[in-house]
């Protein structure tokens, strides 16, 4: 990226407070006028396991981690080797540990990073109520140039409940760490940002953004069954819905949550649920029901590593197939995917609009990486999308109400229970225009055509994809990607662009139905394409091959989770094509 950035990790065992430390640092950086992206990694333990907070600070909005980290501060070495693959260190990186706790494990030393000691526990113990994580924060702040005042205001606010003594102890530990930073080797520092130049910024996670998108889109009923890593969407929605006149109900399982939202939406209230892969598998039959009965619902899948229970706490883009093809029968529906933390808001709000407009289920794919990342970003734009359902108020003069009337758009005005004279039975059985069950070939053909027409003929506008060209233009190289792989791809494009390269990035937001004409137009004149995704089977690439014409020379770059494909790997291929 053109902006300056610094990437660091704070790691430690349970109780070391690394996630707290990371959150304080993020907030302080926000106060200082920086942008940031923080992801967390944790061991499998329910509580108290080892954890790492990985943060990238930058002077401009940041959508991806770098390929390696400048700085790793380990409060202790407990089980830290488990994170070694997720925390790439290079020779230029700086690894800081507490000398009292012995040497760094070999797994962290593969690329021979620079090393330094910081006596975090000893310094902390010399201060009453001092904690090693605050010493670490002080050192980090000193090294990267974070102003003390920014941290002080955060600490004061966070610890207000615990009293002045706690605030003083934390700041004393912080200041001791800050003083120690002077003796440590250098890492990149970020410049202070002029406070007058600052735009309004938000601190938000992808899962919170998803919840906000749902409410903004008009969702007022949510059924919830907890599952990692989607639970935070639901936990954010529970109190938030109550504030805007909505309601969240905890269901007994995912079969219940999907059917509860179908019931609520049949009753006229826009409805949503959020889950992850195993829950989506359970919901699939009923999503097919929503297709057949034409009940709009939104289902968010915060993807994690599969199959089966997989790796519940880590990210993968491998639910694309089930989202697109999971239902039995031909079941036209909508699948959209968010491509950044901020885009979780846009895409979810859009999904509500699409589901309501077309009276069909819309699946939203995000993933653990987007969902559980916290970003400091510019305030997202206001969006015009509000779920708008065509409802029926009266049948034609002397006519019976046809719930599934064969209209030009395929969308039939829906009677909401309570409307006199328009009673009908919504049905998962094939039916005629009235909704009466039918096994006639002609009714099946007509209703299948109608349901397809709804989604195939809809005007998705420019939102089907985000398209971005290098400064010198698109040239003849396209990167085609989706979801959380978009962040690294965007960064690769920016680096390529900064070096004078020409390329175009196309990130598909509308996964289904496919938009072959639009992609063909976006790819006109492109000789080469690089497809980037995080799945073991190349699901996205296969889907592209099934529905789209791709450039003659198309390469697929894919790997399973939990490790993301970093910007450098994408850049390598762009450079290989350039020369």
């Amino acid at each position: 990226m053109a902006a300056q950035s610094v990437s660091l990790v704070i790691a430690g065992s349970g109780g070391a407070g690394v996630v707290t430390a990371g959150s304080l640092l993020l907030e302080a950086a926000a106060n200082a006028g920086w942008y940031a992206l923080m992801t967390r990694s944790a061991g499998p333990q329910i509580r108290g396991g080892e954890a790492a907070a990985m943060i990238r600070f930058a002077t401009e909005p940041v959508a991806s981690h770098d390929d390696s980290f400048h700085l790793l501060v380990a409060i202790d070495w407990e089980n830290i080797s488990r994170f070694a693959a997720e925390i790439p260190l290079v020779a230029d990186s700086l690894l800081i540990g507490d000398p009292a706790l012995g040497d760094a494990p070999a797994a962290l030393l593969r690329n021979s990073p620079r090393q330094a000691g910081l006596a975090m526990s000893e310094i902390a113990s010399s201060i009453e109520g001092g904690r090693p994580n605050m010493v670490a924060l002080g050192a980090i702040a000193g090294m990267i140039g974070l102003p003390v005042a920014a941290m002080a205001s955060v600490v004061t606010r966070q610890l207000k409940r615990k009293g002045q003594a706690a605030i003083d102890a934390s700041m004393a530990a912080f200041n001791a760490g800050l003083a120690a930073a002077a003796g440590l080797p250098a890492v990149p520092r970020l410049p202070a940002v002029d406070s007058a130049a600052r735009e309004e910024r938000w601190s938000i996670t992808g899962n919170e953004a998803t919840g906000l998108g749902a409410i903004r889109g008009g969702v007022r009923f949510v059924a919830a069954y907890p599952i990692t890593p989607a639970t935070e969407v639901l936990e954010w929605l529970a109190p938030s819905l109550a504030k805007v006149g909505g309601v969240l109900v905890q269901a007994e399982d995912e079969l219940a949550s999907i059917n509860q939202i179908i019931g609520a939406s049949y009753g006229g209230v826009p409805a949503l649920t959020a889950t992850s892969g195993p829950g989506l598998s359970l919901m699939i039959e009923s999503i097919g029901l929503a297709v057949a009965a034409e009940v709009p619902v939104v289902v968010v899948d915060v993807m994690r590593v599969g199959p089966s229970t997989g790796i519940a706490t880590k990210s993968e883009q491998s639910d694309l197939n089930i989202a697109v093809y999971g239902m039995h029968g031909d079941a036209p529906h909508v699948v959209v995917a968010a491509n950044s933390v901020a885009d979780c808001l846009f895409t979810t709000q859009w999904a509500v609009h699409l589901a309501e407009s077309m009276q069909t289920p819309a699946l939203v794919l995000t993933d653990q990486l987007l969902g559980q990342s916290r970003a400091i970003l510019p305030r997202p734009a206001e969006l015009a999308f509000i779920g708008q359902r065509q409802t029926a108020v009266a049948a034609g003069e002397g006519q019976r109400y046809k719930r599934y009337a064969l209209t030009g758009s395929g969308v039939s005005p829906m009677a909401i229970p309570g409307t006199p004279g328009l009673t009908y039975t919504a049905d998962g059985l094939e039916h005629n225009e009235l909704g009466t069950p039918s096994s006639q070939a002609s009714d099946h053909q007509a209703q299948m055509d109608k349901r397809l027409r709804k989604v195939a003929g809809f005007d998705y506008g420019d939102h089907w994809a985000d398209i971005m060209d290098a400064e010198a233009g698109g040239g003849d190289i396209a990167i085609i990607t989706w979801g959380s792989s978009t962040g690294p791809a965007r960064e690769a494009l920016e680096r390529f662009s900064a070096a004078g390269g020409k390329a175009r990035l196309i990130s598909l937001r509308l996964i289904a139905p496919a938009q072959p004409d639009k992609l063909a137009a976006a790819l006109a004149g492109f000789e080469r394409a690089l497809v980037v995704e995080q799945s073991h089977g190349g699901q996205f690439h296969r889907m592209l091959r099934a529905f789209y014409d791709l450039p003659r020379q198309t390469l697929a770059l894919y790997q399973p989770g939990p490790l993301p494909i970093g910007p450098a790997r994408i850049l390598d291929q762009l450079n290989a094509w350039r020369t």
Binding site: L212, K243, V244, G245, E252, A256, G418, T419, D427, P437
Partner: protein, 281 residues
Amino acid sequence: MDAAVAEPRKLAAKDYKSDIKPIWCPGCGDYSVLNALTRALAELALPPEMVAVVSGIGCSSRIPAYTSVYGFHGVHGRALPVATGLKLARPELTVIVTSGDGDGFSIGGNHFLHACRRNVDITYIVMDNQVYGMTKGQASPTTAPDWEGSKLTPEGTGINPFQPLVVGLASGANFIARVSASDPINMAKIIVEAVRHPGFSLVQILSPCVTFRPEQQEWRDIVRTAVVDYTDDAARAARRLMTDDGFNVGKVLYKGSRPPFRPEFEVTDGSIAELEASFAI
């Protein structure tokens, strides 16, 4: 909606029936349930548009389309969650679920437990014929262990039958009754009571399958009107249900007084702008 405030329309039972001809076999007990249900709706004087009948899959689940109220015919076993979502989203509607022993107690068993527990104000009518009729005669959860009439379990299931009313009581159902399809007048009366009682009302209907369990035609002679009236004491109800042979019918067996689960949709002072402000730095 309270019958007293409904627009007076004086509809007859037949006005609550649609013109769709049921797919049931001649002599099926479910005809009698359809008659009793529509009679009950007339008695309740509910405007058709204020009633929704929700079902899953099976012979009994075909009922919604045979009525003239709003209907929802969903997937196998999931009628209760659909009804729960509908009633919570639209509390002013009268929501009735029609189900069978397979749909309700086997594939939908978990929802049954939690619907009783949650105690949303809906009425659950389960037509129990101890067989899967739509798939041509397999043992259901309420089938006797030694029934050898199914090709799937030719030597019987060897499994004790499920006790829906005992389980319903233990799970928190707020109203429990058992009726016989052979007495539609009484059935209608009990359905009226079930709909009027707040919370989750469970009505088990012995509804014979004349095709796959022809011996059930004898039920009309076996059933007897329960000798005691309902109790509001769950422990007493449990003792009665645990010792009963399943043929005491025609009366309400238990009425609880737990308040229904009814989260309020209430627009408070909050607004979307306020939610957004919580993210601002």
